[in-house]
Amino acid sequence: MAESIRVENVTKEFTLRYHRTFKQVTVALARGRQLSDTFPAVDDVSFTVSQGESIGLMGLNGSGKSTLLKMINGVMRPDHGTVRTRGRIAGLIATGAGFHPQLSGKENIMLNAAILGMSENEIARKYDAIVDFAEIPTKFLQTEVGHYSSGQSARLGFAVAIHVDSEIFLADEVLAVGDKPFKKKCLERMEQVRDSGRTLFYVSHAGGSVKRMCNRVLILEQGRLIFDGDVKEGIKVLKYDDERPEDEEHFDSDEELGADI
């Protein structure tokens, strides 16, 4: 299979600023204190992903998963190294970002879809499917999103994001919202995405769902890639495997679907 993501020696540094205002900076300078410090959020990470692979990206909070994902997504640029991708990228990252509370559901669907890179035709074509998936009553679509329940607006964002055609599908903060039937539906949808031969990049803390979704695991620790390989071994490395016995029957229980990130 052809390669679809190539990450070479990527480093991203963040700057910690201890003093922000003019007053603080002057005082700190006068006392000879350090004004800022940098730390690598992602540190010299390299890997390649072939088309159709489904990768689970794991690691503790603050290990650099989201930063890495943002660089693959093109939101951030690496300080060193290169990220190259082949094919369109989409996914469940910050679903519903940019929703404007004063616009109607319909207007927000269109705007959000355009932000995610859909063309006018594509939006027109998929509009009904998005509405169906979100399960939002038609009468609500003409009212302001500000009046929706948080679950409704989250579902709307999710529905838009999942309908973007792409060769690379990134999933972050997935399934943190929505009720149980909706979560289940989303997961099934993601499995369809995986089975359709698209490259899947899935960030999760839930060992069970990574086991079910992915065939390869990358583990980050303090920005460094410490493991790249088999799913079961990876979960052992992370010591996530003693969570609970592997049991497909319990897959859709809340711990497994759990809130990611």
């Binding site: 093109g74 990220v83 082949r86 369109r88 970002a97």
Partner: protein
Amino acid sequence: MTDSLQAGADTGTTVEPAYDLGEDRPWEDPAPSRGLLEVFRRRYLLKLLVRREISARYSGSFLGLIWSYINPLSQFFIYFAIIGVIFQLHDSIPNFPIHIFSAIIIVHFFTETFNAGTRSIVRNKAIVKKMAVPAEMFPVASMLVSLYHVFPQLVILLVAVLFMGWTPTLSGVLAVAIALTIIMTLGTAMALFFSAANVLFRDFASFVNILTNFVRFGVPMIYSYTMVGDRFGRFADYYVLNPIADAVMLMQHAFWIGTLTEQELSFDDKGQAVDRLPDHLFTLGFTMIGVSLVILVLAQYVFSKLEKQIPERI
């Protein structure tokens, strides 16, 4: 994220057929920096952002779009009352209301673009932080929203000058086009530069507020170009190097000059010969379009340098 990559078929709730990239698909940088070109490539998103701003600006308000008329009109009456009546400029500037109002339109357009544009990226941080959207989109959208609000004001002005016996001319139309082009280009350039700077330090938004005050008084709005020549002599040659002042005078050429009588055009109220507007106004106008374009290119250059820091600093 190019449209040409789409799988095509209607997907409904089922997932598209398997993709095969093949070996010949090019590698792409997921964060390309094509600058303003990328904004034009994603015109549809730009259109939706502009529409969102327009409908959201006055949503929940009863008068709605009418505020777009009230705002410049109130400014107009303030200047008219204070400068015209109290300072008695009615006498030395014939058809003073038209003189002011044609200037207000340009000044208002520029300051709105500059102010709203400077804040635009910070205001859209939910999007900028998480999604790969060219950040230039937001200052450009601010400019277009301000441009949209220019038209109701132009309508008011047109009605007023038609009552005063003004007839449209080709050179007038050209002058308006040049004036708007100057402000669109220069406004976008300033908005672009300061929107990025404002992400790094919010101080820039306050600084821009002060700058816009200078703009108001740096153009022949509440005083006339004639006075600049009278009071400052040769300084008037430098005065016309301000692109915003030239845009204002082009608007006055289009609307104000046409309402003056032959007598008023060439002589002041004491019977002395005057120049109402500078010579070679059109040459100046075209030059200033060029100057604004150069500033825009510079602003884009600086923006591209700062852009990398935007998602992490916002």
